[in-house]
Amino acid sequence: MPCSNASDGAGGGRVARAGTVLAAVVLAACAGGERGGIEQAGLQRGDGRAELVLAVRLAPALREGLERGVPLNFLVEVTAGGERRESHRELRYLPLTRQYRLREPGLDYSRSFASAAAALAALERWPLPAPAHEGTVSIRVRLDRTRLPAPLVLPAVFDRRWRLDSGTRTWPAPA
């Protein structure tokens, strides 16, 4: 992320860097560059099962953060028949084995992948408990920024690159 780049310059005056960091507060709010996002979100239902199909694209800053040990927690909020349920998945890089691990603590689900693409592919097929209610289903998928490492939470409020949010999508009752 640009903020880290701004502070990496060795040998520069610390006072100057302090000013630079202050300026970065403003710049981060309107940070440019390639932005990721949850570009698609679909729901597949059938045979008493439901699966959330996503198209997730990570911005380079997030990819870099992931490879440097920043866990990414994705949160799914499912509202069906007035009932609201949450589940989240954590994507983390394991440097010892050079693997990416996708974990869903609530379901004791944990799988390792040799590449980020494989891990994201697994993330994009997100099995959900079949809603008991067959009516309207609203789903929102987002990166849970509150579970980011502490120093990153506040800048992430201003940095759009860390804003992965599908918005609330609603599917009508099946015909």
Partner: protein
């Protein structure tokens, strides 16, 4: 007062607590957002919005205060400049240190953050991680080889023999689990050396693909807190590739290695993560501490404005009160100042001083009022006194001349004010002896003297009786006061007093025998009138009648003498003058010879007088007029009576004019020279005009007389109108 002080204390305490709370919350937030666990993470946007809102509100309040201060400065309100200077001073004292501390704090924190990322540490962690990886790769390679050998052995035997082979191999290989899966995933054979690994673990699709492609594949897999090695090899069977069996072995990693590897991995991951988050960490610190600094500075600025206003307020009130005192508004006080400090002492001292000034001013005003009262009293005395008074300064210049003096000297005070007596002599040459004598006394520095001065050249040759006395002037000089009277008036008064004594004795001596004479005459008439012859009776009748009538005349004369000799103080009643004139004229209208012309004022004239005495005045004057006209004419008598109100020396005076058309006043007639018992009329007592003058003087009025050019005599009564 106490509640206002309590409110001020609470307000200040609230602001201080707010600042402390903001600072504490900000520092806690900074800690939470940088080195903490971001427990407040979900609330960061709300907290930032709240902080922004507080900053905005503080900024608006400060802007309003500054605007108010600027407006007060433009209006030059008391204390505004002092308040502005104090605010600027406090701001200058607060802002640079705070900014300096902030910059140095940020510099220190950034330095501390940067110092955590030393290159040797990163390299050591990378090396340790690499060692761990190499160890695992070596173990993985060994696992792959063992699985490949066992798969080759299984490929040489039937599937029915695989369970036994697997059982035999597991202990030999030291694996946790061995399992053979058919192409469709069915378990063909399995063996387990650990109760936790009884259930065969299905290889993933990727593992199947890799093993199918490479023949054998292995990888390190994290399983909870454990690390295991999974290796897969395809059993070489005479079957299509998709239908061939897949052997999978799970090998343990030595228990001593696992925690070491996990710690190395965690340390490396944390270090890399922190390195990645270094910028974000600095940004969070700068953001939170900057926000805290902004809030604290705004609160401090607000406090500075309030404090400067509170400090300047008593000074402004003092300045305002001083201005009021300078304008002469003594007694202006300043409200008490909260706090037991020098400002409070100053305000108390000022209020005490103002109070003392007010008392002194009241005393001065009282003294001035007393002086004015005494001066007014003296003026009134000098105005009313019949004696003339002239005050002279050390140089002989006139400083004072009362109305009696003006009348006697025939000059106005304004003409002589500041002039010396020679100017008076130049103005009135006949008064030269008067000025000359006084001048002589002044030059002789006489302290008390008395002298008569005759003015031979003046009409009537009056004699002035002078009494002089030295005075000390207000400036310390030696002045002189001269009191003088017209000795002729005094002599007249003395004569009047003497005549009054004569009249009293005369009345006393004459009145006593009159009644016996009258009674004797009446008894003679009753006893002898019927016995005498008609001729003698007629003589007796006429003689006794003459005696009685003359006795009556003598009684009237004696009564007049009594009135003159022992005048009673007049009553003071509200009298409608026109109505009273009308009553008197109605009596005289009975006289057929008389033609009365009334020209009375339309509006009634009210005077304070004794109505009986006023009737006496009018009757005397009307009788005089009728008698004068009766003596001088044979035909009808015309008498004009008029009334009006005229101003005289600032007072409204009622004027009653009685004009006859008789022979007029005798040549050289002077009212001032009229004396009792002197009359031009054959039967007059000579008391009529004297009594009229006395009555009018008793009422504060006077009588005027002249002879108009077209004949007759004119008398004017002047009386003060009732206010």
């Amino acid at each position: 007062m106490a509640s206002a002080r309590l409110i001020r204390w609470l307000s200040a305490a609230l602001v201080l607590l707010t600042v402390l709370a903001l600072s504490t919350a900000g520092l806690h937030l900074a800690s939470d957002a940088t080195v903490g666990r971001a427990r407040l993470g979900p609330y960061y946007p709300a907290l930032l919005g709240l902080a922004g809102l507080i900053a905005f509100v503080l900024a608006v309040v400060i802007a309003l205060q500054v605007l108010r201060l600027l407006r007060a400065l433009r209006q030059r309100a008391p204390g505004a400049r002092l308040s502005a200077r104090l605010s600027a001073l406090i701001a200058v004292l607060c802002l640079p240190p705070a900014l300096l501390v902030f910059v140095f704090a940020m510099n220190f924190l950034f330095g501390a953050v940067d110092s955590r990322f030393a290159a040797p540490v990163a390299a050591a962690l990378d090396d340790a991680l690499e060692v761990g990886r190499l160890y695992l790769e070596e173990r993985r390679d060994g696992a792959e080889r063992a699985v490949a050998e066992l798969a080759a052995q299984l490929g040489e035997s039937d599937r029915g023999q695989w369970p036994a082979q697997v059982d035999q191999a597991i202990d030999r290989l030291g694996a946790l689990q061995l399992a053979v899966f058919a192409g469709d995933g069915a378990v063909l054979a399995s063996a387990s050396a650990d109760p936790d690994w009884l259930r065969p673990v299905q290889p993933s699709q990727q593992q199947r693909l890799r093993a199918g492609t490479l023949g054998v594949a292995g990888e390190v897999v994290g399983a909870g807190d454990e690390i295991v090695l999974q290796a897969q090899a395809v059993v070489d069977e005479p079957l299509p590739p998709a239908a061939r069996a897949l052997l999978q072995a799970v090998f343990p990693v030595p228990a001593r290695y696992v925690p070491l590897a996990q710690r190395i991995e965690a340390a490396s991951a944390d270090y890399r993560q922190l390195e990645f988050l270094r910028g974000a960490l600095k940004l969070s610190m700068a953001l939170v501490l900057g926000l805290v600094l902004l809030l604290v500075l705004l609160a401090a600025l607000l406090l500075a404005l309030r404090a400067s206003r509170r400090l300047a307020m008593p000074v402004a009130r003092l300045a305002e009160a001083t201005t009021r005192i300078a304008r002469g508004e003594f007694g202006a006080t300043v409200g008490a100042v909260a706090g037991d400090d020098e400002l409070g002492d100053l305000v108390d001292a000022f209020n005490s001083m103002s109070h003392e000034l007010a008392l002194a001013q009241a005393s001065v005003r009282g003294t001035q009022a007393l002086i004015e009262s005494q001066r007014a009293y003296l003026d009134a005395v000098l105005t009313r006194i019949s004696s003339a008074v002239v005050g002279l300064d050390a140089g002989g210049r006139v400083r004072l001349l009362n109305p009696a003096g003006e009348r006697l000297l025939g000059a106005e005070a304004g003409q002589l004010q500041g002039q010396d007596l020679e100017a008076l002599a130049a103005l009135r040459p006949d008064l030269a002896p008067f000025a000359q004598r006084i001048g002589e006394r002044l030059r002789a520095h006489a302290s008390g003297w008395r002298e008569e001065v005759r003015l031979p050249e003046a009409p009537g040759a009056p004699i002035l009786l002078l009494r002089g006395s030295a005075l000390v002037e207000p400036d310390g000089g030696r002045g002189h006061l001269v009191v003088f009277d017209d000795a002729t008036v005094l002599q007249r008064a003395q004569r009047e007093a003497a005549w009054a004594e004569v009249a009293r004795r005369l009345a006393h001596e004459i009145k006593n025998p009159l009644t016996p004479i009258q009674l004797a005459a009446e008894r003679l008439r009753r006893r002898y009138l019927g016995r005498m012859a008609p001729d003698d009776a007629e003589v007796l009748e006429r003689a006794t009648g003459t005696i009685v009538s003359q006795v009556e005349s003598l009684k009237a004369l004696v009564n007049g003498f009594s009135d003159y000799a022992r005048p009673q103080p007049p009553r003071r009643l509200r009298v409608a003058l026109n109505a009273l004139i009308g009553d008197v004229l109605d009596l005289h209208a009975q006289d057929p010879r008389l033609t009365l012309e009334r020209r009375l004022a339309v509006a009634e004239i009210l005077v304070e007088a004794d109505p009986d005495r006023l009737r006496q005045v009018l009757n005397n004057l009307l009788r005089n007029a009728v008698e004068a006209m009766a003596a001088g004419t044979d035909g009808g008598m015309r008498l004009e009576v008029a009334s009006a109100v005229e101003p005289h020396e600032g007072r409204a005076m009622a004027v009653v004019e009685i004009r006859d058309h008789g022979p007029g006043l005798p040549a050289g007639f002077d009212l001032a020279a009229v004396e009792p018992y002197r009359s031009d009329k054959p039967r007059g007592s000579g008391l009529g005009l004297v009594i009229v003058q006395r009555i009018l003087e008793e009422h504060g009025g006077w009588l005027e007389a002249d002879s108009p050019g077209d004949g007759g005599a004119r008398f004017r009564i002047r009386l003060p109108v009732l206010a």
